[in-house]
Subunit: 168 residues, 2 copies
């Protein structure tokens, strides 16, 4: 896929550079439309904002999964790759979760129980309670996951499905 993209890109560059010659100003490169998924699962339904995600979590009675990441962070990229390619994760995400990925922090301090860093995955109960008890394996960055932690992340997703307040 990367190779295909690269060759398409090379063709585009070649075409645009040859087309651009008669013009005074070189045309801007055609941009690939930004997706709400940002590569974490194009087939999943993503909320755009935290407020929207909370509303959905509450009204659909589903837990919310908030993924903080950055496009230029190699750790985020590596986790994203295994997340997007893992069929079990994609299925449980699609079936049971309200999903939000953010490249910019919110004003809600509860979403950064031990600081702001990426990648960081925080679960929120439909009762609006941040599940600070659902953590990864690193004591200094409790909500961080490495690609090798993908099985733990899946287990955590299964765990967070069991709501904190089951009476909801």
């Amino acid at each position: 896929m990367a190779k295909v993209l690269l060759s398409v890109l090379l063709v585009l560059v070649a075409v645009s550079s040859s087309l651009a010659k008669p013009e005074k100003v070189t045309k801007k490169e055609k941009r690939i439309p930004q997706t709400l998924s940002r590569g974490w699962g194009d087939q999943l339904i993503w909320a755009q904002t935290y407020e929207e995600a909370l509303f959905w979590a509450r009204s659909r009675n589903k837990p919310l999964m908030v993924i903080f990441h950055l496009e230029d962070c190699p750790h985020s990229q590596a986790l994203k790759k295994v997340f997007a390619e893992n069929k079990e994760i994609q299925k449980i995400a699609d079936d049971d979760y309200i999903l939000l990925n953010l490249v910019y922090e919110t004003t809600d301090k509860h979403l950064s129980p031990d600081g702001q860093y990426v990648p960081r995955i925080v679960f929120v109960d439909p009762s609006m309670t941040v599940r600070a008890d659902i953590t990864g394996r690193y004591a200094n960055r409790m909500y961080a996951y490495e690609p090798s932690d993908i099985k733990l992340l899946l287990e955590n997703m299964q765990k967070a499905k069991k709501f904190l307040k089951t009476e909801l």
Copy 2:
């Protein structure tokens, strides 16, 4: 376009129903990835959240344009079409604006000076001041625009480029 979509849909339904027969469970239809532009200009750079947009407006010293709309609102759809197809609008948006489109209201009351409705376009100065003075032509919904108001919208975009506080 609507007709084309409809026939594509009919073909898809026909194909999927014929393909689905040998299987026990019908496969889900492949979804089109959601874009951040939501059709308001795939070639433009869109902020995801209001906080992110404000940060960009401030740090890049550009005004922010917030478009409130809904996917299932025909007025929003009609305005989106002329917005996305208008080259002057797309150019000024790309060159001079921080852009945000939202299908969910924010908690900031300043973004709804005369109520929450769609479509609604509100300009925010890089100094973080909502430009309540930049309005459309309807007294009861001052920040609404019809497709026929596209020239006024362009003029308003040119007006909002002149910052409220020029010393910034």
